[in-house]
């Protein structure tokens, strides 16, 4: 009886601590987010998986911004490192289909979400990002996914 209770207690504590870690640890992580507004109303959000240190996050958004600057001078860029990923962006890091076109690096290290008034233009921008990344290392190359397609 006591033996069974001990085993149950060990499992219960493990499950409880695991659930607590999954619930609370994400709020301590820093998520690199770069939002770029292009002329014509197209908006691209670049985001990466969470990082444990803020300086890592800042260095990461600087790198993304410098890449974007090379292709889009004069675009309006907003970069931030929030603690915890805003709910609206969580789906972007998953493998689920999205309502907008999105591009993702093979290693999951970078995801771009394209938002615009004209679906054809947003899809075209997505495909362009894939082409532009062709010279990157294989795991960093972007693959474009149309809206509604599991990624």
């Amino acid at each position: 009886m006591l033996r069974g209770l001990t085993a149950f207690a060990v499992v219960a504590v493990t499950v409880g601590l695991t659930a607590a870690a999954i619930e609370f640890v994400p709020h301590t992580l820093f998520f690199p987010i770069v939002e770029v507004s292009l002329p014509g109303g197209l908006r691209v959000t670049a985001l990466q998986p969470g990082l444990t240190e803020k300086r890592e996050c800042e260095s990461s958004i600087r790198e993304v911004t410098s890449r974007l600057d090379a292709y889009c001078q004069g675009c309006e860029v907003v970069q931030r490192c929030p603690r915890g990923l805003p709910t609206a962006l969580r789906g972007a890091l998953s493998h689920e289909a999205m309502a907008q076109p999105s591009a993702r690096a093979g290693d999951g290290g970078l995801t771009l979400v394209f938002l615009g008034r004209d679906p054809a233009v947003t899809m075209d921008a997505c495909r362009q990002s894939q082409q532009l990344s062709a010279s990157y290392a294989v795991e960093s190359r972007l693959e474009c996914f149309a809206a509604g397609v599991p990624r």
């Binding site: 499950v15 969470g50 890091l93 493998h95």
Partner: protein, 233 residues
């Protein structure tokens, strides 16, 4: 059971001062607390990498496996602080060296490159780590104040996990190590783990020998229990 009696020292409280005994607990307590702290720091990284990218249950079992490692390490530290003083221990270094090798050999894996992450293997690995560590926690709780890295006799434990198997903690450790191996899946990792198992088998010899010498009832316990795997060995 062929070791000469000269190998043994009958240690009593008069021989080992309390201060000496407390002092000798510090290395293993520091060792486990160091790895406990490392696990806490690493947990954020594990969650950061897998959060949202993997499905919830895959993340859950991966985190649960790491949490069970932390619980095991915390328990090791606590029980080493609270352990009884030995009534019998070896007077030579070989049993201690074997025990230390048994503890440390597996850390040679830090020099072996890990295999590419494959969701299916990662899942099985996490499950084995979780099962092994949970069983390890139960075995350590059964050992209680008799827990020791070195082969030393304190109190004979023949209940709980120890009722049918004489070394359930090593069985638990080996289950978890198969889980660790799945993250490497290479010949160098096979070599490290084989070396580890061989050292652990020798360590079991030393432990059984000292318990046999210290507790007359151990001979009977050995006859009615398996060494490592219930029903097999």
């Amino acid at each position: 059971m062929s070791a000469a009696p000269a190998l043994f020292e009958q240690r009593t409280m008069a021989v080992d001062s309390k201060l000496y005994d407390v002092f000798m607990r510090l290395p293993i307590v520091s060792f486990t607390l160091f790895f406990f702290a490392r696990e806490i720091i690493a947990l954020r990284g594990v969650i950061a990498v897998r959060l949202y990218a993997s499905n919830y249950w895959q993340l859950f079992f991966t985190v649960a496996a790491r949490i069970s490692v932390m619980m095991f390490l915390a328990l090791l530290a606590a029980l080493h602080l609270a352990r009884l003083r030995p009534i019998r221990k070896y007077g030579t270094w070989w049993p201690r060296i074997t025990a230390l090798l048994g503890l440390l050999t597996v850390y040679a894996l830090v020099m072996v490159p890990t295999a590419d992450s494959i969701a299916w293997w990662d899942g099985v690995s996490a499950m084995l780590l979780l099962v092994g560590n949970t069983l390890g926690i139960l075995a350590v709780l059964d050992l209680g104040h008799s827990l020791s890295i070195m082969p030393e006799a304190r109190q004979l434990v023949t209940t709980g996990c120890y009722r049918r198997v004489r070394h359930p903690l090593y069985l638990a450790e080996d289950i978890a190590l198969v889980g660790v191996f799945l993250q490497f899946r290479s010949w160098p990792a096979v070599i490290v783990l084989t070396a580890h198992v061989l050292v652990q088998l020798r360590r079991m010899d030393w432990e059984e020998e000292i318990l046999f010498r210290a507790f007359p009832e151990y001979a009977d316990y050995r006859l009615r229990s398996y060494r490592l795997v219930p029903g097999l060995y």
